[in-house]
C-alpha cells in the first residue's frame, strides 16, 4: 500500500494551493480565502519544519476535555444514549466503539442546538398522518423525540426484562433495539422506528463527523476507515493506484490566528 503523504507536512498542500491560487491574484477576481491563506502560509513558513498541529497533538487522554459535559440530556438519558450508541457502533478488533469515540456527547450537543430544535425545518401545522413516502411529519422536535425515545428504551427494558437498559446484557440490549427498529414497541404515540433511525444516524455522525462536534475522538473514527479528514489537495495523488494513506487532519488544523 502506498504510504504517500503520511509524513508529508501540511504545508506541502498549502504550497500547492498557493501555487495555483497565486496565479489568480492578478486577475479580476480573487478567491476570498487566498489572502487569509497567504497570511497563514507566511506564518507556517517561519515555523518550518515544525510538524502540523495534528501531528504534534499531545495524547488527549492525559488532558481533560471540558467539552465533555451535558447540554441537553440528564445523566440517565446520557447513559442510555451512550449504551445504545455503543451497540449501534460497538468496540471491536478494528478499534473503539461509539462510547469511546464520544458519540453520546455528540448527540447531546446536537440535541441542544438547531438540529435538535428543527430550526431549519418546516414545523408549521397542520400535522397530518402521512404516507411513508411523504417523510417526517411529526409535531415533535428532534430533541423531544430523543428524550421520549430514550425514556421509552428504559421503560420497555423494565417491562420486558425488569432492568434498566444500561444494565442489560449486550444481547438483550440488541434485542430491545431491534424491537424499536422494527417498530414493534407501543410508545404512546411515539414512532419507535423513527426514533431508532434518528439515534442510529446520529451515532454514525458522532463517529465520523469532524471532532469539533464532540465525537470522533482524536479522529479515531476516521483512522479506522483510513479516511484522511480534510486535506487541502489531492492534485498529485488522484491518479495513484490503491489506497493512499494520510495522517488525518481536522478543521482544528485549519485554524490560523
Amino acid at each position: 500500500m502506498a504510504k504517500d503523504g503520511a509524513d508529508r507536512p501540511q504545508d506541502e498542500s498549502r504550497r500547492r494551493f498557493l501555487k495555483y491560487t497565486g496565479t489568480a491574484v492578478g486577475g479580476l477576481v480573487v478567491g476570498g480565502v487566498v489572502g487569509g491563506l497567504i497570511g497563514s502560509q507566511a506564518k507556517n513558513a517561519k515555523e518550518e519544519p515544525a510538524p502540523s498541529p495534528s501531528g504534534s497533538a499531545p495524547a488527549a487522554s492525559n488532558e481533560r476535555d471540558y467539552n465533555q459535559a451535558l447540554m441537553f440530556f440528564n445523566q440517565e438519558q446520557f447513559q442510555t444514549a451512550e449504551a445504545a450508541a455503543e451497540r449501534i457502533f460497538p468496540t471491536d478488533d478494528l478499534g473503539p466503539g461509539a462510547k469511546d469515540l464520544g458519540a453520546a456527547f455528540f448527540i447531546d450537543h446536537q440535541m441542544a442546538g438547531m438540529y435538535g430544535t428543527n430550526a431549519r425545518d418546516y414545523m408549521t401545522p397542520p400535522f397530518q398522518t402521512a404516507e411513508a413516502y411523504q417523510g417526517y411529519q411529526l409535531a415533535f422536535k428532534r430533541q423531544e423525540l430523543m428524550a421520549l425515545g430514550l425514556d421509552a428504551l428504559d421503560e420497555y427494558s423494565q417491562d420486558k426484562h425488569q432492568s434498566a437498559f444500561v444494565k442489560l446484557s449486550e444481547d438483550l440490549q440488541d434485542e430491545v433495539l431491534s424491537a424499536f427498529e422494527a417498530n414493534e414497541v407501543e410508545l404512546k404515540g411515539i414512532p419507535a422506528a423513527t426514533f431508532f433511525t434518528m439515534l442510529r444516524n446520529l451515532t454514525i455522525e458522532g463517529v465520523y463527523a469532524d471532532p469539533l462536534y464532540g465525537g470522533n475522538k482524536n479522529m479515531t473514527g476516521w483512522k479506522m476507515k483510513s479516511y484522511p479528514g480534510n486535506q487541502m489537495s489531492y492534485y498529485d495523488a488522484i491518479e495513484k493506484d490503491g489506497l493512499v494513506k494520510y495522517e488525518p487532519q481536522s478543521l482544528h488544523d485549519h485554524l490560523t490566528s
Binding site: 489568480a24 478567491g31 480565502v33 451497540r87 425545518d121 417523510g135 463527523a209 492534485y235 488522484i238 478543521l251
Partner: protein, 573 residues
C-alpha cells in the same frame, strides 16, 4: 403599503446561474440591472472551513431554510399533499450564486433528440408509441439553434472535457476550452470495462477546472485540487465554476448591477399584458417595496418561477383534467433507480479523493441512441461512474443482507469503504398529464403566501427504463474484475425522503405555441412580452443528463433576447 423604489431597466429575481449569466450579459451591454436574492451574500472567503461533512452535507448549510419556505408533495390527486418538512429528495439553492455554489459541475449538453422529442419519436416509431397520458412536446428550438449559446457558457465557465466527442451526442462547433480532468484508477477501470462491454466511454465534461483558466471576461481561476468536498459545498479555490466567481463579479464590475440580498420577491405587478415591476419583502425588517422595471426576469428556479406566476395570476394556470393552460405543466424530475455496485475484496481505491465532475460516461442508452421499438419506454439514461469524493458519514457501503447497525455493520462498512465502486444510470424523466405544480390550498410560507404543491410519481415508463438501464450498468460493472456486483433495478413509488437529485424541471415551458407553452424560445412570456421566465422551468421534459448546461445556454439566449427587446420591444418571435 409598499415603498416605491426608483425605476430600473431590468429587475432579475434570483441570483443563481441564470440570474448571474443574464445580469452579466445585460450589464456588459450597458443596461442597468437590479438583482433580487432572498438569501445572503457569499464569497470564497466563507469556505475556509468548508471541509465539514456534518455542517454542509448533513445539515445543509448552504441550502434554502425550510422553516421559511418549502414545497408540498403528493403522489397523486387523491391524497393530501404534505409539506417537505426536512430535506430529502432535492436541495434548493439559496443565497448569492444559488445552487450553482454547491453543485457538482457535471456538464452535459442535452441531445438533439431532446429538443424535438415528439416529432422525432413519431417519425421513427409512429404516434402510437407515445403512451396514454404522456405529454412530451417539442421545445420550439433545435439543438443547432442552441449550439452557439452552449459555447458561450462553456467559455465563461471553463468547461473541461475531451477534445473530440463520441458518436451519440450533438456536434460541437468548438471544443471545450480546457482538456479533460485527470483520470483516477476507478475512472480508468470503468472506461476499460465499458470498452470491453462494447461501449464508447468519454471523460465526463466538468465545470471543475482541469487547469488554471482565464475566461473571455478576464476572470482567472485556479485548477481543481480534487479535494473531495464539492457537491453540497462551496469551492475554496474558485475552481468550481460558480456564479460568485464568474458572472456576478463581471456584472458588478460594470457598476451597472445592484444586488439586493435578503429581498424576497412575492409578486409580479402587471395589467395582464405587461409587468410594471416586482413587489418584494426585505426579509430582516419585513418591509414591503415595489420595484418598477421595464423588463422583469424570473430566474428563481423551477419552484419559485412557477409559484410567482401563480401568485401573481400571470399566464394561464394549468388544468390537469382538461390538459389545457400552461403554468405548472409538465413537472419532471430525474430517474435514478438503476445502478450496479461492485465490491472488491482484494483491491482498494482512494475514493475519498475526487471532484464533483470527475468521471466517465457512456451514452449508448441515452435519448434515442438505441432502438425502442420493442421496449416499454422512451428515452433513456447516461451511464456514469463518478468519483466525487466519498465522505465517512455517508460512505457506508454494504452488500445487501448486511444489517444497518451493530457489529456486522461496522466491520462490513469499514471493509468496503475503500473497496466499492458504483456504476449509475441517470435517467430521463418524461412528462405526464397528471404531474404538475400548483398552489397548495393549506400550507403557507413565512409571509403567509401559499406554498407550491407538487403532484408527481414514477410511472411504468420510469420502471421499464430502470429495468433496462440497470442491465446495462451490470454489463459494464461485471467487466471491472470485482469480487461481486449487486444491481438495483426496481423502482417503486416516488419517495420524498432519500436524496435523489436537484434536477427538477418544468412548470413554465418553452415552445412555439401559446396553447401548449408559456414562453417562446427566448423564454419571453407569450402573455406579457416584458416578462422572461428562465431556467429549467422551461424544459418540456428532463433528459438523461444533469440540466445546467442547457439551463446556461438558454440563459445566454434569453440575455440576447432581452437586449433585442430593450432595443425594439414586442414579441421576439
Amino acid at each position: 403599503m409598499a415603498t416605491n423604489m426608483p425605476k430600473a431597466t431590468v429587475a432579475i429575481v434570483g441570483m443563481g446561474w441564470v440570474g448571474g449569466v443574464i445580469a452579466a450579459e445585460l450589464t456588459k451591454a450597458g443596461h442597468d440591472v437590479v438583482g433580487f436574492e432572498r438569501g445572503k451574500s457569499r464569497s470564497t472567503a466563507d469556505y475556509y472551513h468548508v471541509h465539514d461533512e456534518l455542517r454542509y452535507a448533513n445539515r445543509y448549510e448552504l441550502m434554502q431554510d425550510l422553516s421559511k419556505e418549502t414545497v408540498t408533495y403528493r403522489n397523486n390527486e387523491k391524497i393530501t399533499a404534505l409539506p417537505m418538512r426536512t430535506y430529502g429528495s432535492f436541495l434548493l439553492g439559496n443565497g448569492l450564486g444559488g445552487a450553482g455554489v454547491h453543485w457538482n459541475g457535471q456538464y452535459f449538453r442535452f441531445l438533439p433528440y431532446d429538443f424535438q422529442i415528439k416529432s422525432k419519436t413519431v417519425e421513427r416509431y409512429g404516434a402510437g408509441k407515445i403512451p396514454e397520458g404522456m405529454t412530451i412536446q417539442d421545445w420550439g428550438i433545435t439543438y443547432d439553434e442552441l449550439e452557439p449559446y452552449f459555447v458561450k457558457f462553456e467559455q465563461m465557465a471553463g468547461i473541461s472535457g475531451d477534445p473530440t466527442t463520441v458518436d451519440h451526442v450533438g456536434k460541437m462547433s468548438q471544443p471545450f476550452p480546457i482538456g479533460p480532468m485527470k483520470q483516477s484508477p476507478a475512472v480508468k477501470l470503468f472506461r476499460d470495462a465499458a470498452a470491453k462491454a462494447g461501449f464508447q466511454a468519454y471523460t465526463m465534461p466538468s465545470a471543475n477546472l482541469a487547469d488554471n483558466y482565464t475566461n473571455p471576461d478576464g476572470i482567472e481561476r485556479a485548477a481543481c485540487q480534487y479535494c473531495g468536498y464539492c457537491e453540497r459545498f462551496g469551492c475554496e479555490y474558485g475552481a468550481k465554476a460558480d456564479p460568485c466567481v464568474t458572472v456576478l463579479p463581471v456584472a458588478l464590475n460594470t457598476g451597472k448591477l445592484e444586488i439586493r440580498t435578503f429581498s424576497n420577491v412575492t409578486k409580479i405587478v402587471h395589467d395582464g399584458k405587461k409587468a410594471s415591476g416586482v413587489q418584494y419583502i426585505h426579509v430582516p425588517t419585513g418591509e414591503e417595496y415595489f420595484q418598477p422595471a421595464d423588463v422583469v426576469i424570473l430566474a428563481s428556479y423551477v419552484f419559485s418561477n412557477t409559484r410567482l406566476l401563480l401568485l401573481s395570476d400571470l399566464g394561464k394556470k394549468y388544468d390537469p383534467d382538461s390538459g389545457t393552460g400552461v403554468i405548472g405543466k409538465n413537472y419532471c424530475y430525474q430517474v435514478l433507480g438503476a445502478g450496479t455496485t461492485a465490491y472488491f475484496d482484494d483491491k482498494e481505491f482512494s475514493t475519498f479523493m475526487g471532484a464533483g465532475a470527475l468521471g466517465a460516461t457512456v451514452d449508448e442508452f441515452n435519448g434515442d441512441n438505441f432502438d425502442h421499438s420493442e421496449l416499454g419506454f422512451l428515452h433513456g439514461a447516461s451511464i456514469s461512474l463518478t468519483q466525487t469524493g466519498l465522505r465517512p458519514i455517508a460512505n457506508n457501503p454494504t452488500p445487501s443482507g448486511t444489517p444497518s447497525w451493530g457489529k456486522d455493520f461496522k466491520a462490513t462498512s469499514i471493509k468496503y469503504a475503500n473497496r466499492s465502486l458504483s456504476v449509475g444510470a441517470q435517467g430521463s424523466s418524461l412528462p405526464f398529464r397528471h404531474h404538475y405544480l400548483d398552489l397548495d390550498p393549506t400550507y403557507k410560507d413565512a409571509h403567509g403566501l401559499p406554498l407550491i404543491r407538487m403532484t408527481f410519481d414514477f410511472e411504468d415508463q420510469d420502471k421499464n427504463l430502470v429495468k433496462h438501464l440497470a442491465a446495462q450498468t451490470k454489463k459494464i460493472a461485471d467487466q471491472m474484475g470485482a469480487t461481486k456486483t449487486e444491481t438495483r433495478d426496481a423502482m417503486t413509488t416516488y419517495n420524498i425522503t432519500p436524496y435523489q437529485s436537484t434536477h427538477n424541471t418544468g412548470g413554465v415551458l418553452m415552445g412555439d405555441d401559446p396553447a401548449t407553452s408559456a414562453v417562446n424560445n427566448y423564454l419571453q412570456m407569450w402573455d406579457a412580452d416584458n416578462v422572461f421566465v428562465c431556467g429549467a422551468s422551461a424544459f418540456a421534459h428532463n433528459s438523461g443528463y444533469n440540466p445546467t448546461a442547457t439551463v446556461g445556454a438558454l440563459a445566454y439566449r434569453t440575455a440576447e433576447g432581452v437586449g433585442k427587446y430593450l432595443a425594439k420591444g414586442g414579441s421576439l418571435v
